[in-house]
């Protein structure tokens, strides 16, 4: 077995990547069950479902950064807001 100690895995990051992987698998299955349609939403961009998930994740990441950089409050609040943002972009973006 190759020594992977240098990768310095922790439980939270493992959960994070497992979540991303699960999301990818889930999106693929969803696509298989009901294919997406390209559409133009509230953001004014022509996007597919996958694009919106990516945009949503990116937007919540920036929200999280802004939260950490500008406010002293718990990052969990930003995580919650990020989740809401993700769902909003997925639904209406």
């Amino acid at each position: 077995m190759i020594d992977l100690e240098w990768m310095a895995w922790t439980l939270p990051t493992a959960v994070f990547f497992a979540g991303i992987a699960a999301l990818l698998v889930g999106m693929s299955v969803w696509q298989h069950v009901s294919p997406t349609r390209r559409r133009r939403g509230a953001l004014g961009l022509s996007t597919t479902r996958g694009d919106r998930v990516f945009l949503g994740l990116l937007a919540s990441a920036f929200l999280q950064l802004a939260w950490l950089g500008l406010t002293p409050f718990s990052p969990w609040i930003a995580a919650g807001l990020g989740g809401v943002l993700l769902v909003w972009i997925l639904r209406f973006g």
Partner: protein, 267 residues
């Protein structure tokens, strides 16, 4: 008359490109003591001493061989994996194709500095540190996406009818790809190889981090000119001149394809 004026401007710009290189050439033909003592526009007594030092010392010229080795390996590797993928992106539709393409591009844009430490440890784990393969693989990070991108552009400009005709004529896919399709996009492959060569040749940060002795690139060997008595300017300039030579040769050979390739391709 405007034509004349334009050409003067162009000539001035080309001069601006050449003068600094010419100045380094001037430095490379003079011993350092002479460089530091007198300021001259042209070498009084041009000598090839600096070049002789470099070409006569294995620790110097092995740097060139190392650089050329990993650049060659990287170019071959990039083309090898990028050709089939570019074909898939240009001809087939599959789950997540656009997102995959995007993900590849993000790697072209990723700052190498970000990957320095993990790279070092990743390659240590596989015992690849200080091998040419390590640098060749690391440079794939930006060259493979680039190669896929350029090749995809070329392939998409080839009509699909060729594929269908070959299929009807009973060509197997590998045979069609190798004997019919590849020659058709020949210039594209050339241009792609040119860009892979170029970006691998000019990169230093990763190449220097992943090598210590055996595979050290020439650009890193150049730091040897710094000694206790200061910089050996003449030697540094000569080494620099020699790093320009392979690039200049490559450009000279692809000059005809370059314009055509640039017009068809994407970079």
């Amino acid at each position: 008359m405007t034509l004349r004026k334009r050409h003067v401007g162009l000539a001035l710009y080309l001069g601006f490109l050449l003068v600094p290189i010419g100045w380094m050439l001037n430095m490379s033909l003079r011993p350092t003591a002479d460089i530091l003592s007198t300021f001259r526009l042209l070498p009084m007594d041009p000598s090839l001493e600096n070049y002789r030092t470099i070409l006569g010392d294995p620790s110097w010229y092995s740097g060139y061989l190392n650089s050329l080795t990993y650049v060659g390996m990287n170019t071959a590797l990039s083309l090898l994996v990028a050709l089939p993928a570019a074909y898939a992106f240009s001809r087939y539709r599959f789950l997540g194709d656009r997102h995959l393409f995007f993900w590849l591009l993000t790697n072209r844009m990723a700052p190498p500095a970000v990957f320095l430490l993990p790279f070092f440890q990743l390659y240590s784990t596989f015992g690849l540190i200080d091998t040419h393969l390590a640098v060749a693989l690391a440079h794939c990070l930006f060259n493979v996406p680039l190669a896929v991108w350029i090749l995809e552009g070329f392939m998409s400009s080839v009509p699909r009818e060729i594929d269908e005709m070959a299929h009807l004529d009973g060509y197997s896919f590998p045979r069609f790809f190798l004997t019919l399709f590849l020659p058709t996009i020949g210039p594209g492959v050339g241009v792609t190889a040119f860009f892979c060569f170029m970006f691998s040749w000019v990169e230093l940060l990763l190449a220097r981090t992943l090598t210590t002795v055996q595979a050290k690139p020439i650009a890193a060997v150049m730091t040897r000119t710094v000694s206790a008595t200061g910089l050996d300017w003449g030697l540094l300039a000569a080494a620099g001149m020699l790093t320009i030579v392979p690039g200049a040769l490559v450009i000279w050979f692809v000059r005809r394809h370059l314009a055509k390739g640039l017009a068809l391709g994407r970079v």
